[in-house]
């Protein structure tokens, strides 16, 4: 196929999911994000810890909205967030004066490492990027960022996914653990 022909696409987009699927996606995301946000805003505000980062919104799309996807499985959710968080923090620590470079290296390396470890999880790219963009609180956490919020938040969202996604007869989660 020629270079420009490739840009035209070859197939149709997948069908729209059923209303029940949409309903359960909503419930899962509400409870999952609700749990980490509640901890973040109501239990941790006085501490130096965080439980909510932007990339969890993206994880919610996958683990509550596209639960069959290989990208949404526990291995990918946990591995993707934790590894990418470590890479993000390391990039910031090593390249901080050059913020554009730290950001680019963090995301690109996170993708490469997730591929290598078969833990590709798109929100991981955001987790790595957030470690570079920060807030001051995130910078102060250092590598702890990989455990809380990245690892711990992903674990909480995973528990909700296991509990909610298996309620309807038509849904089953996960497809695989490792």
């Amino acid at each position: 196929m020629n270079y420009f022909d490739k840009m035209r696409g070859t197939t149709t987009s997948p069908p729209r999911v059923s209303l029940s699927e949409i309903f359960w996606s909503w419930i899962g995301a509400f409870l999952g994000i609700g749990a980490v946000a509640f901890i973040n805003y109501n239990l941790l505000p006085q501490s130096d810890l965080l439980m909510l980062i932007g990339s969890f919104g993206a994880s919610a799309v996958l683990i509550y909205g596209a639960i069959k996807s290989p990208l949404a499985q526990p291995r990918n959710l946990l591995g993707g967030h934790i590894l990418s968080a470590l890479i993000g923090v390391a990039s910031y620590k090593m390249l901080a004066p050059h913020m554009w470079l730290a950001a680019a290296v963090a995301v690109a390396t996170a993708i490469a490492v997730m591929h290598l470890t078969k833990t590709l999880h798109p929100p991981g790219g955001a987790t790595a990027l957030i470690a570079v963009i920060g807030s001051e609180k995130i910078y102060a956490m250092g590598y702890l960022y990989a455990i809380v919020p990245a690892g711990a938040g992903a674990c909480i969202m995973l528990v909700i996914a296991l509990l909610v996604n298996n309620i309807p007869k038509t849904r089953r989660y996960p497809e695989f653990w490792w």
Partner: protein
Amino acid sequence: MSQRTSPAPNPAELLSDEDVYEAMKKIPGYLDISAGDFKELYLLAYEHAETRLYNSLRVTEIMTREVITVLPATPLAEAAARMAKHHITGLPVVQEDGTVVGILSERDFFRNMGDGSQTSCMALIANSLASGGCPALCIRGTTAGEIMTTPVVTVLETALLHEAGTLMREKGINRIPVTDTKNRLLGILTRSDLMHAFPDKGIS
């Protein structure tokens, strides 16, 4: 039966994007794959399964068990009539005890008719029209045992399909009798049996 036409298309190739789209609608939940990718995956998996089966199944899985045969003493007139009746172009010649002693095929007839130079039905017709005689007359009193091809290439019942396929290709033959260890006929595997079961294996 070597008279069948072109091999059946690979079922996976018949799959349209619409088929996949409709199938995706039957599975609740968001499937993280495009119809095109699914088709590609299915084709590759199908090919893999075909290769796996071709390399692991025994000849007994697809051979024909009810074999039309003749005895060495069967007159050619009767042998030819039997082949015509069953629409086959060759059959094994077996003894009373079931032992395979040869193969009788169209080619054996051609070789022994007219001046013996024909290799096809059309060549025979041409020859016959040119000479004005019936080239079959010279083999009228002959028996199957006299013109059959012998010794005959056979495979044991334990042989794998790909071994039989390779043999047929290498020896340029269209059928292989399948025998037990005592050389008794159990069935027959034809090139078209293989072609139809495994259209992508380059057997034709």
